[in-house]
């Protein structure tokens, strides 16, 4: 099984166990996946190497990529202006392969907080941040983030002051969104590498704040 090296790792890169359906009884849907993959290879549609390369490309995408973009924007005003004008070009400028994704960056300030959701499915800036967390895809988040966003934020531990305007962004079409969080106070002496460590995944979706904020 040359393509199955992941199966032998008991822990994922994050230290969490893989979902147990890796080892359980073969399911109908797993059988279908194997069959589709083999049919596509047999018909010359894809090669096993292409499939593995696509998996590796997705695995290489993570919130760290977004954190690097945010930290650069915090330290480079001209880059920040370019990021807010065209998120896709700014991410590509930093060397991130985001494919055809149209990225819009929305900025948190002293008086504005932004929150990202996709109510119709679960669109997510996956080509920059990697695959979304499970909660982002739940009925609970998708339903309530546009109806009672401040209550949802409180569940994530973010209690937004009444004088801060909350802007919720529903990714209904071709755009994908990333929040540019506000730079935490007291970080003036940190460089971009140190700043990036403060930027959490949730702070780029709007359900969290950077560490130290």
């Amino acid at each position: 099984m040359p393509h199955d090296h992941h199966d032998h790792d008991h822990l994922s890169p994050s230290g969490h166990p893989y979902r147990k359906d890796n080892d359980g009884a073969l399911s109908y849907w797993q059988t279908m996946e194997v069959a589709i993959r083999e049919l596509m290879v047999e018909k010359g549609e894809l090669t096993p190497a292409q499939i593995q390369a696509q998996i590796d490309a997705m695995d290489a995408r993570s919130p760290a990529n977004g954190a690097a973009v945010v930290a650069r924007a915090w330290t480079d005003p001209e880059f920040k202006a370019r990021l807010l004008a065209n998120g896709s070009d700014a991410a590509r400028e930093m060397g991130f392969d985001i494919g055809p994704m149209h990225l819009v960056a929305v900025e948190n300030t002293e008086d504005t907080h932004n929150l990202i959701v996709c109510t119709l499915c679960s669109c997510y800036p996956r080509n920059l941040l990697g695959l979304p967390p499970d909660w982002y895809k739940t009925r609970e988040y998708r339903s309530r983030a546009v109806r009672e966003p401040r209550a949802v934020l409180r569940e994530f531990g973010v209690d937004l002051p009444a004088d801060v305007t909350l802007r919720v962004h529903d990714s209904t079409a071709d755009m994908r969104y990333i929040v540019l969080p506000a730079r935490p106070a007291g970080t003036e002496n940190l460089d971009a590498t140190a700043l990036a460590k403060l930027v959490t995944r949730d702070s780029m979706i709007g359900t969290g704040l950077p560490k130290g904020a």
Binding site: M1, H3, D4, H6, D7, S12, P13, S14, H16, P17, Y18, R19, D21, N22, D23, G24, A25, L26, S27, W29, Q30, M32, E33, V34, A35, I36, R37, E38, L39, M40, K43, E45, L46, I51, Q54, I55, M58, D59, V117, T119, L120, C121, L131, P133, D134, W135, K137, T138, R139, E140, Y141, R142, S143, R144, V146, R147, V152, E155, F156, D170
Partner: protein, 110 residues
């Protein structure tokens, strides 16, 4: 059936409980489904809109009872069948062949 004026997947504003915070990392078979969906689009067989259309048409029960990538592989199949990449006869025969190889996902890899 699903209310045609307010379909099940169009859930913005619906009442719902607390956001479940537990997560998991993706199994290799899930990552492969993800990869096949991206590559199937790159091959020009369908669009992300077609993926979503099939997911929506699978209905609310599928959303409630199947995992995310179970739904994705079902939608992938729907779109590839519609595109004529393979036939149901070929899929059925291949699935039987795969099942005969073993009882676990790891055991049936060729």
């Amino acid at each position: 059936m699903d209310d045609p004026e307010h379909r099940w997947h169009d859930m913005g504003g619906d009442a719902a409980g607390p956001v479940p915070m537990d997560g998991h990392d993706f199994a290799i078979w899930e990552k492969r489904v993800d990869a096949l969906v991206i590559l199937g689009q790159q091959r020009g067989h369908f669009t992300v809109d077609g993926l979503r259309r099939a997911l929506e048409d699978m209905g609310e029960a599928a959303f409630n009872e199947m995992t995310y990538y179970e739904r994705w592989v079902a939608s992938l199949n729907q779109n590839l069948i519609e595109a004529g990449v393979y036939s149901l006869e070929e899929l059925g025969a291949k699935m039987e062949e795969v099942k005969a190889r073993g009882d676990t996902y790891g055991a049936v890899q060729s």
